[in-house]
């Protein structure tokens, strides 16, 4: 039997993974959810036919979206995580004893149920007593929180589906309000390689750049995402992602990681020329409504 899962990274590029078993297929109120077993990537979760995580490479994403802000901000205590129903980000966060509260907002309860059943390793830490899960629209809940968080992690799906609202200016603006005066927001910024992805990345970077005083992009290599090349956004009210990195302090925590290191932290902010140009293009465009 020759069974493959394929995802179009563009209309003309297809990424395929051989499947040994299709473990789960269901439609929630928001999206199509599937779980596969695969020889190369282990267990794979897809939403609306896009790979969200694989057992094999999820550590890269989860470590890079978590440890980068944690190594910069000196005292993160209250964290808001948006999306991330698979529990991977929460798993990394719960390794820090300094964190006293993690609010997780996921719109789709079915994602969490499926992950608890099929990805128990990842979802195991969702039961940590510091974790408070709320099922609601993230735009709505963030509108209502004022300056309560040190860190917001936006672990969204791509900007062309139900997660679209998490790439908007109104969302970033309300995140700004929900952060303390030295707070940090980190988000997954998609890929800069294929055109449609690159344009979406530019749009959302522009919105973040005009909302936060500090807004930088960093990168990682994630094999199962489009082009294998992924970006994150670091937006902050006070701390600079490289200048304010406290490598010694982070190292002294003794956290074992497989991708992140303080040295890679610095390196991940050094970007290829084509990407620098793309970012400059939107950073220099100051067309705002003049009142």
């Amino acid at each position: 039997m020759d069974l493959w899962f394929s995802e179009f990274h563009t209309p003309d590029v297809k990424h395929s993974i051989r499947v040994t078993r299709h473990l789960y297929s269901g439609r929630s109120d928001y999206q199509q959810i599937d779980v596969f077993d695969t020889p190369e990537f282990g267990r794979v979760l897809t939403l609306d036919g896009s790979v969200m995580l694989t057992e094999r490479d999820e550590f890269i994403y989860d470590e890079m979206i978590t440890h980068v802000p944690m190594a910069v901000h000196p005292n993160i205590r209250d964290v808001l995580v948006i999306g991330a129903g698979d529990g991977g980000v929460v798993k990394e966060l719960t390794r820090y004893s300094q964190i006293r509260r993690i609010d997780l907002i996921e719109m789709d309860p079915q994602v969490i149920e499926v992950c608890r059943t099929y990805l128990p390793e990842n979802a195991s830490r969702l039961d940590d007593e510091r974790v408070h899960i709320r099922f609601e629209n993230a735009l709505r809940s963030i509108r209502r929180s004022n300056g309560n968080y040190d860190l917001i992690i936006v672990d969204s799906t791509d900007p062309f589906g139900p997660g679209e609202g998490l790439f908007t200016r109104e969302f970033y603006g309300n995140c700004f309000s929900a952060l303390r005066p030295d707070g940090i927001m980190v988000n997954q910024q998609g890929s800069p390689f294929y055109r449609q992805d690159a344009e979406a990345m530019q749009r959302s970077h522009k919105r973040i750049y005009t909302t936060f005083p500090i807004s930088r992009i960093y990168q990682a290599h994630i094999p199962t995402y489009a082009a294998g090349y992924w970006l994150f956004g670091f937006a902050s009210k006070r701390y600079h992602p490289v200048d304010d990195l406290n490598a010694e302090k982070w190292s002294s925590l003794g956290l074992e990681t497989r991708y992140y290191t303080p040295l890679l932290h610095v390196g991940s902010f050094y970007l290829p020329a084509f990407l620098e140009n793309m970012l400059r293009e939107v950073e220099q465009d100051n067309s705002q409504t003049v009142l």
Binding site: L139, R140, R143, P162, T168, F171, S177
Partner: protein, 491 residues
């Protein structure tokens, strides 16, 4: 509820749609117009609009009937529409609700006839007066001073106008207004009929009144004689399609003749089938659909009012007379208290948040909610308003409130429009009689109409609206620096 219309015909039918489906199966060889021949002759257009769409862009013919003289499927579709809306007859209109409004006026008044109406009507109403030569008798709408919006007409003001102009032939009511405000339609119909006048309703924003529980009364249920219904607004049909409804007092044949004076003889089957399919949808599912829209609007109102500064107004405006009822599916927000004009919020929403709302004027914005909306987009709108307040809130000192300007009608719109005229710079026009329209679009309610005296108050308003970024339309001079005035009209 007497207004709950119970259809008698089989509303699951959609005769025009069915005829087009049959026609497609027959694979008839076209040696008639349109020349694109099911799209084959215009591959770029076909690629853009889709083969399915261009293949039913066809001409009138025996199996598909003819809108100018309907005897088969179009007639059936019109009777089904009349049945669904509780009207004596319903005309499918393909020239927008503008054509429905114009046909309504041309059917009821002639040159020199007086017609009673509020001044805050859509331009299409006054355009119709230019065409037919009737003379407007304006009833000042009541005004909400805090919000700066025109409300409905008070009963006593309508009664006075009828008393003072006993020879008027009709009363026209704007029901609901763009903002969802309704007058006491039943009472106005009764007063008009007692005086031997017709009652006409511009119901462009009230299609859903025919298909909702707890909604304001519809024109047909209130006993009005004619109503122009914008099916393409809340009804879900294609842009430019509309319905003209009539009551039992009107002659179907005469109204058809009037419509045919100006209506195209090549009516689009895309528009007509969209009316047919949308009517079926409304008749079968309208109640559920609009209950959902109403709930979404109520939710958004609560959320917006919780942000602070904004005022999303609703049923609390109802006062038993000039706000006899409020259409809760409308979502309007007063923005002046956060220090921004509505038009400024409108621009910021589009430029910075990629959210296009229906319109913004001096003190308010209106977001149009409909059967196509989903909660996630509504959350974006509410969150964007919250973010705009965070970023832009300022003192509202210096922001004008919109005032209703009581116009001085010097001559009929037709006489003024066709009078010998000349163009003068706007600032030199005070005291002159205007011979054209000036309006912000949308909402398309004239600031100046032909035959009205130009005052410095009106010019100040135009200047203010322009400075805030309102899009002004109407005059022959597209730059709106000059205005046409009637020669010899100056006081």
């Amino acid at each position: 509820m007497d207004r709950t219309n119970k259809p008698k015909l089989d509303q699951r039918r959609a005769p025009i749609y069915e005829a087009l489906e049959n026609f497609r199966q027959m694979r008839v060889v076209p040696f008639d117009v349109p020349g694109h021949k099911r799209g084959r002759g215009n591959p770029e257009l076909t690629a853009f609009l889709g083969e399915q769409c261009v293949s039913v862009d066809v001409n009138s013919m025996k199996p598909l009937d003819n809108l100018s003289h309907p005897i088969s499927v179009i007639r059936e579709a019109e009777m089904l529409a009349a049945d669904a809306f509780g009207a004596s007859y319903a005309f499918l209109m393909v020239g927008g609700t503008t054509s429905a409004v114009q046909s309504m006026l041309l059917s009821s008044c002639k040159r020199g006839d007086e017609i009673i109406l509020p001044r805050n009507v859509h331009r299409s109403v006054i355009n119709a007066l230019v065409l037919c030569g009737a003379v407007p008798v304006y009833v000042d709408p009541d005004v909400d001073r805090r919000l700066g919006i025109s409300l409905g007409m008070c009963r006593r003001d309508v009664a006075r106008a009828i008393r003072e102009h006993p020879n008027a032939v009709a009363v026209l009511v704007n029901n609901p207004t763009y903002y969802g405000i309704c007058s006491d339609l039943r009472a106005i119909v009764r007063m008009a009929h007692e005086a031997g006048m017709l009652c006409l309703v511009d119901e462009a924003h009230g299609t859903h009144f025919y298909f909702g529980d707890d909604m304001p009364v519809s024109a047909m249920a209130a006993g009005a004689d004619m109503s122009a219904v914008s099916m393409h607004k809340s009804g879900g049909s294609l842009t430019q399609s509309s319905l003209l409804l009539i009551g039992p007092q009107m002659s179907v044949g005469y109204v058809r003749q009037i419509i045919n004076l100006t209506q195209t003889t090549s009516a689009s089957y895309l528009l007509m089938s969209s009316l047919d399919i949308s009517r079926r949808n409304l008749a079968l599912r309208g109640r559920t659909v609009f209950a959902r829209v109403g709930e979404m609007a109520e939710y958004a109102r609560e959320e917006i009012n919780e942000i602070g500064g904004y005022y999303a107004f609703g049923k609390e405006l109802v006062n038993g007379d000039s706000v006899f009822a409020f259409d809760t599916t409308k979502l309007s927000v007063h923005t002046r208290d956060i220090g921004l004009a509505g038009i400024e919020v409108y621009d910021i929403l589009r430029d910075e948040y990629d959210i296009q709302i229906e319109f913004g004027e001096i003190g308010n914005i209106l977001a149009y909610l409909s059967m196509g909306d989903r909660p996630q987009e509504l959350e974006r709108l509410v969150s964007a308003l919250a973010d705009i307040r965070r970023r832009y809130q300022r003192s509202s000192i210096g922001l004008l409130s919109q005032e209703y300007i009581d116009p001085e009608v010097v001559m009929s719109p037709q006489d003024a429009f066709y009078a010998p005229k000349r163009s003068v710079p706007l600032e030199k026009s005070v005291g002159e009689v205007c011979s054209e329209f000036v309006m912000c679009y949308p909402p398309g309610i004239p600031i100046l109409a032909p035959g009205e005296r130009i005052t410095s108050q009106i010019l100040d308003y135009i200047e203010y609206a322009r400075s805030k970024g309102c899009s002004l339309t109407g005059p022959e001079d597209l730059a709106i620096e000059n205005i046409n005035i009637v020669i010899g009209g100056k006081k």
